[in-house]
Structures are given as C-alpha cells and as structure tokens.
C-alpha cells in the first residue's frame, strides 16, 4: 500500500506539475484541433471521424484500422502528448438493501472527477510508432479509514514496427507489436481489450455501471509484457501470433505504477493468437474472427518458485463486427462469444467450504476447474458524429463451484452474516450465495458530442441476473435489479 501511494504521488506531481502547463501550451498552439487521442489528430491533421466510427471511441473505421496496423506512422511527427479526463455521476437503483450503504455505495449520487489519462506516442520513424496510455484513477483504492486514494499506472501500451508492401498486385502489411495487454494490438473493437464502453471510471468508484459488467477479457489481464507479430494480406486476412510473460527487467515499464505484489506473474511464455477475415464493400465492412490465449499464472505474485501453485487458463473466442459508415451515418454491430477454462492448482482444488447449508451440513468440496461462457453484443449508431446511442447485451454463465461462493451460512450461527468476527462471514452486495458467476443484462447509452473534444453521455445498465441469481444473490436479500445503475459522464480530451 505504501508503494502504491508513493508512486501515485510521483505521478500526481508529474500530472499536475508538468502536464497542466503543457496542456495549456498545446491548447495555445493548436486551437480548435482537438480530437480523440489528439496527438494522432495533430499527426495526420485529420478529424476524429477519419479513424473513429462516427467519432465514437474506441471503435475504429477501416482507415483507422490501417492507421493502427501501419504502426501509427501515417502523417508527420508531432508533440507526442495528449491528455484526457473524465467526470461522472452514478445513481444505483436501490442502496437500501445493505446494512452499510455508506460503505457499499460510497460514491453513489455524487459527481466525481473519476480518471485522467496521459497519452504518449504517435509516429516516431517511417516504421515505428506507438500508443502509450497512463491512467490516473482518483478512486483506485480505499483505505481502512474509508477514504479513497488516487493511483497512477500504465494503462494500454502498444509500440510497433510496421511495414507495408503495396502495389497494384498485392497489399501486405506486416508488423511487430510490443504491448502489455493481450489483444490491445488488435485492430477490431470486438477484441477483449477494446470491446468496452468508453469512458468508464474504476469499479471501486462505481460498481454496477457497464464498465463493471462482464467483458470478454483474457485471464492474464493487462500489465504483462508481450511481443506479437502480425500480417494483413490484401485487406482480407489478418493473422497475429505472440507470447506474453511477466513484466520485468527491460519490460518492467509495461506494469509501471504497479508494485510487485499487484503485478501478474506468468510462468514462461504464454501464447496468444488471432485470425480474422475482413471484407469491405461499398460503405460496409465485415469481420469474422477467432482468438485465444493460454496462460499459466502464479497464485501468489510474490512466490514464483513453485509451479504447483499455477492457475492454468485457456481463453478462446469467436467474434464478428459489421460497420456501415456513410456520412452522416455510422452503424457498428459487434458480437463476441468467449469461453474460458480455469484449472486450479492442486492445493486449491477439492477444498472444503467455510460455509454450510441452512441445516448446518457441509457443502461439497470445491471443484478443480471452472468454465465460463460469455456472450456480448453491441449495436451503436451515431449521426453526424454528434448524436449517438447504443444498446448492448451481456450474458456471463458458468459452472457453480463452492470455491466461488462468497456468501453462505455461517457454521456457528447457521445464519448469513456479514459480521467480520463470524467464523464464515459473508459478503453483502458483491457476494455470491450461489457460487456462480452468472450475470446478465443490457446497457443503453445516449451521448452528445457538441464539440469534438468533449462528450456528454448517459448510460443505464439493467441486470436481470447478478452473481448467479436474479433474487437474493448475496444472501442478504439483494436482487439483481437493485444494481441497475444510471451513469452520467463528461469526457474531455486534448
């Protein structure tokens, strides 16, 4: 915790002391030319709609995908810095079903400055470019005193070398990406790293907005170190293969801002692959693809000496994205099916549960592996790159496992209690009585982009199932729909 605070302070100083004046200088130099990742805007001189579908982020247009695949090298070198900030407000449907609402819904119904990001990158040489995002989360952690603490750490990092061999007969883009998040290098927005609503504050600030809903992520998460090689042939076939390992030594910057105990520790090189078919006709484009990753992750980041403590993950997904882009209309439809198999290390498998059933009988021992399936679909429309809306559906399902159970009957009192002194205390609000991850719902969003460096949006997430049940999912009477939440945000970038 100490280390976290210290690094946060270092970066806070950087952010406030260095970037504030820098942003003002930038504002003076480039009036009226601020877009999403404005450093790319300054590099190409183009409007945000050139690369982002209807100007919404992060969805890329066919041109935006090519810009990325050619290593962010189109245009000219410019000041390689941009900044982004987010202010937001959330109202959850029901905060009464909690015996300590001030703790469980601390930021509910209050406007907050949520996050800020610093972007570095852009074109470096004719073949080298990059995208580095460093994010400050104002509500990253919460101390024992109930106060939130800000924290700064590396977000997405994607450094590239790319070349393109193109003439009348063939078009081949090849490249290498050094990055810290599997699929962050992917040019389509159904990739786990990119199929997300932007912006979102951290889950510790707001628990039930879409950003906290299930997304098709890789088990390894981000802040690891990887190298991938990719090729895009005749704008039709995309293939990428790579490997990821622990961020350390030369690659330790991939997990900047994270202390050792918070850094994911992988054993050896963990393979990642991606294959996609792309077709463009008229104003339409369609991609159908598949991707996957195997990861071996140490149970304790501070103990990487014992291979018997490894968790084995297999992630696999199929995804598809359709776009219709013809000014003033921008339509994007996305569909992802993602499957994850998680095999526990032996010392965690077949373990007795701390909880008992309502009669006091022991529960089954924990399983040795879990499988989850996630379906996520999103449809968005933007008019004149100014007025937009989207609808998305998510359904996470998986097996039941007593190891996942965070609520249950205490063996001593035969009640479900959150008393921390109980033999088996239960988790209210975020707990699962079923020991099942099942979560399902919809997210609706409307937004307005009055000027291109500012977006005002409202998002509503409605749950029909949460942590394995529709009703009383936490054992304290809380229902899935009690978590429905309205999220209003103001996003700015320069």
């Amino acid at each position: 915790m100490n280390g976290t605070r210290c690094s946060a302070n270092v970066f806070s100083v950087l952010l406030s002391g260095l970037l504030g004046p820098l942003a003002l200088v930038l504002a003076a130099i480039w009036p009226g030319q601020a877009m999403a990742i404005p450093l790319f805007n300054r590099q190409t001189g183009q409007n945000c709609v050139a690369c982002h579908a209807g100007g919404q982020f992060p969805e890329l247009t066919p041109y935006g995908r090519l810009f990325k695949m050619t290593g962010y090298t189109i245009g000219e070198r410019t000041v390689p810095v941009s900044v982004m900030a987010l202010a937001s407000y959330v109202k959850a449907a029901n905060t009464s079903k909690s015996d300590d609402p001030s703790a469980d819904f601390a930021r509910n119904e209050s406007a907050i400055f949520a996050t800020a990001s610093l972007f570095l990158g852009g074109k470096v040489t004719d073949n080298i470019g990059g995208f580095v995002q460093i994010t400050y989360d104002n509500y990253a952690t919460r101390g024992d005193d109930g106060k939130f603490h800000g924290h700064t750490q590396a977000d997405n990092i994607d450094l590239r070398y790319a070349d393109r061999f193109i003439d009348e007969r063939r078009d081949l883009i090849v490249g290498v990406s050094v990055n810290n998040n599997p699929s962050v290098s992917d040019p389509w927005n159904t990739a786990p790293a990119w199929m997300q609503y932007v912006p979102v504050p951290s889950p510790s600030a707001y628990q039930f907005i879409d950003g906290a809903s299930p997304y098709p992520g890789y088990a390894s998460g981000g802040n690891i170190a990887g190298i991938t090689a990719y090729a895009f042939w005749n704008r039709t076939i995309y293939a990428e293969i790579g490997g990821y390992g622990t961020s350390k030594g030369w690659s330790s910057f991939m997990s900047s801002g994270l202390d050792n105990a918070s850094t994911t520790k992988l054993q050896g090189i963990n393979p990642y692959w991606r294959l996609a078919w792309n077709h463009e006709w008229g104003p339409h484009s369609l991609m159908v693809g598949t991707a996957g990753m195997n990861a071996k992750i140490y149970d304790d980041p501070l103990n990487t000496s014992d291979p018997s403590t490894l968790h084995h993950f297999r992630n696999w997904s199929i995804d598809s994205q359709y776009q219709y882009l013809l000014d003033p209309h921008a339509v994007t439809a996305q569909l992802v099916y993602a499957r994850q198999r998680h095999r526990y290390p032996d010392f965690l498998a077949g373990q007795p549960s701390a909880f008992v059933d309502a009669q006091g009988n022991p529960l089954p021992n924990s399983g040795d592996e879990d499988t989850t399936n996630l379906v996520r679909a999103k449809l968005s429309y933007v008019y004149e790159a100014r007025y937009g809306g989207s609808l998305s559906f998510f359904n996470l399902s998986g097996n039941t496992n007593t190891a996942l159970q965070t609520s249950g009957y205490d063996p001593t009192s035969l009640t479900i209690t959150s008393d921390p002194t109980a033999q088996a205390p239960s988790t209210r609000v975020n707990g699962t009585l079923a020991g099942n991850p099942g979560t399902r719902g919809f997210t609706y969003e409307l937004f307005w982009t009055p000027i291109q460096y500012m977006r005002l949006g409202a998002q509503y997430t409605a749950y029909s199932r949460f942590n394995g049940a529709s009703d009383n999912y936490d054992g304290f009477g809380r229902n899935a729909r009690d978590n429905n939440a309205l999220f209003v945000y103001l996003w700015t970038a320069y």
Binding site: N2, G3, T4, C6, S7, V10, F11, L14, T44, G45, Q46, N47, V49, A50, P62, Y63, L66, F67, T70, T73, I74, G75, E76, R77, P80, L120, G121, K123, V124, T125, D126, N127, I128, G130, V132, I134, A154, D163, R164, F165, I166, D167, E168, D171, S252, F253, S255, S256, G257, L258, D259, N260, A261, E280, W281, G282, P283, L325, L326, D327
Partner: protein, 224 residues
Amino acid sequence: MRNAPSIVAAAKLSCLAMLGVATAVMPGCANPSRSRDVSNPQVEATTLARQVCSNCHGISGNSVSPNFPNLAAQTPEYLVAQLKGFRSHDRRDPAGFEYMWGLSRKLTDQQIEGLASYYAGQTLAPSQAAAPSQMLAAGKAVFEEGVPAKNVPACTSCHGASGMGNGSFPRIAGQHADYVVKQLMVFQRTHERAGGLAMEAVAHDLSRDDIESVATYVQSMGRL
C-alpha cells in the same frame, strides 16, 4: 524494506518516462520508398498514393466506400486544384476539412502534380450498382439537357458529352452517386468549394429528385 515496492514502482515509472523522452527525441529514420510521411518532400507521389491515399481511395483510385470519391482517370488539372484547395483551406466542405486538410498541408507542388498524374493515368472500374431505369432516364435527361424550365444547363456543356471532364472541369462519369449528391448539396447550400461559383449557380435550382437522379445516372455512366 517497507519501501521496496515503491522503489520498484518508481523504477518502472522511470523506464516509462525515459521511453517517452527517447520517443520524442529519436531521429526520424526515413524509409522513403515505403514511407507514410506526408511532410517529407523526398517521398515520391506514387509512394504516398500507395501507402496513404490508397487507404480510402483504393490502390488505383477506385474507392470501395462511396464516402470517398473515385480518383481514377480524373483530370489532372482538377486534382491539382483540389489538393491545393485543401492545402490552402480554400476548399472547406466537411469531406475536405475532415479528411484532406491535414494530409495535404505539407505536400509540395511537385508531390501534388505527381499525385494528379498518378490518378489521371489509372483506369476507372465501372460501377456495378443497380438503379431503377426510370431514375436513370430522368438523370440522363438532366445530364444531357439540363432542366430548361429552371434554366439549369446540361452537365455535358462543361463535363463533356460522356462526362469525362475537361481540364479543370472534373470527370464525373463513374463517380459514386453518394459523393455526387453530397457535393451538389455543398454547391447548392454553401460557398465552401473554392472556384465553385459556376456550380453554385447550376445547383441552385436543382430539386432533390434532380440531384439524386443525375447522380445515379452519372455513377452508371462507365458501364452503359
């Protein structure tokens, strides 16, 4: 030892900061034969056409998306005038400033002439888009005869009998109908196109039906 994690985190941050500094000061290693640098006068026009322009306009100037005009077989005079108009911001319709101002801002006259020559020498692929015959007939009438009742002249009078263009009058035969409609609307409603006075007068009295039918006909011209 309590401070050990913070030292680790600070070291990582230092690495990242150094990386950022290195990125900013790194000399620009040029690879002019396959460069996408639109500010380097050493990069040949053909290279820019292939590495940059092809992303939207196609390798041979035949664009897949109607959001972007076909450039193949366009008159070089028109292409030069448009690129210079983007560069000087004299052409300021949305399609122009959103996509083209930035890419053209550092082009040299020589590169602009090279790009014009590259596209003028390409072959325009005929559009395969289907259209109702009634609409094509109405568009053909506007194209060949204008709209006499509104004193709208025939397109042929400047763009040529087969719409192939002539000098600064662009080729319109085979152009995307959506692009033609949008540009006619720009002429009709705005003064955003440099040198567009003649077309502003022509488009002023065209009805929406006239515009859509003539654009549809123009698009079909390459294959009729």
